[in-house]
């Protein structure tokens, strides 16, 4: 499944990377601690967080994530959007909570880490 299908199914608002939504999503990761995401998210994952700081773009870029969903109706900072445009990181937002977004992604078949 790609970002465009996810965006449509969850009615996300696309903040950056409108032209990058054909990216395939390999799975999902939800966390608000950036060092944890650096350690555990995988390439191509969609990342669900309430963080809006520009640091999220650096994390997504380092881990080569497919994109970021910002939850709870939070608005990304201007610097975050500027960096995301530069680094080609799609950012989507939703008024739903992390739990609800993850539940819907799961219904769509987006898996997490299921090694354990």
């Amino acid at each position: 499944m790609n970002l465009k299908e996810i965006t449509q199914a969850l009615q996300l608002s696309v903040k950056t990377g409108e032209d990058l939504l054909d990216r395939d999503v390999t799975g999902g990761y939800a966390s608000d601690m950036l060092s944890d995401v650096l350690a555990h998210a995988r390439k191509g994952n969609i990342w669900i967080t309430l963080q809006t700081h520009a640091n999220i773009v650096a994390v997504a870029s380092t881990r080569e994530l497919a994109g970021i969903i910002i939850v709870n109706g939070r608005t990304p900072e201007a610097e975050t959007l500027r960096k995301a445009d530069l680094e080609k990181i799609p950012i989507m937002s939703s008024s739903l909570s992390t739990y609800s977004i993850v539940a819907r992604l799961s219904e769509l078949g987006i898996k997490g880490d299921e090694r354990v």
């Binding site: 601690m33 950036l34 060092s35 650096l38 963080q51 520009a54 773009v57 650096a58 994390v59 870029s61």
Partner: protein, 140 residues
């Protein structure tokens, strides 16, 4: 970063990469003013004005072959999440001072973590560097 001590580890490693011989780590916990201040001062090579300004940009790094430098940006974010701020002062050839201020009792303020263990690790890993560590509690 789970706690403040991990930030200290990270920033101290910056100082060591900048060839510091002395690193001062000060944690000032002021109950009356409701502040937690972290100061890390080094006598390394320092940065010019432009580099100092860019040091809080996660896409700025002096490390060869790296695209991002997250130590200072992550500390700045942690401070801001606890209604605080971070200041970087630096002078080429003289060193760098990083000050992070947190609201002590802010619900999102990260715990201190194991400061003694962190300083012990730094000393063991870098015997050539002098680490000075103190924890102050004025207003108590």
């Amino acid at each position: 970063m789970e706690d403040v001590s991990l930030h200290i580890l990270d920033i101290a490693e910056n100082a060591i990469r900048a060839k510091a011989r002395n690193v001062e780590i000060r944690v000032i916990q002021n109950d009356r003013e409701d502040t937690l201040i972290l100061e890390i001062t080094d006598d390394g090579m320092g940065m010019n004005e432009e580099e100092t300004k860019r040091s809080v940009d996660p896409f700025f790094t002096t490390k060869a072959g790296k695209k991002v430098g997250l130590g200072l940006p992550f500390l700045a974010q942690s401070a801001e999440e606890a209604e605080g701020m971070m200041i970087v002062e630096s002078a080429v050839g003289r060193g760098t001072k990083v000050t992070a201020v947190f609201k002590l009792r802010h619900i999102d303020r990260k715990p201190l973590g194991n400061l003694d263990e962190t300083v012990r690790c730094l000393k063991a890993a870098h015997p050539e560097v002098d680490f000075f560590f103190e924890c102050l509690t004025p207003g108590q």
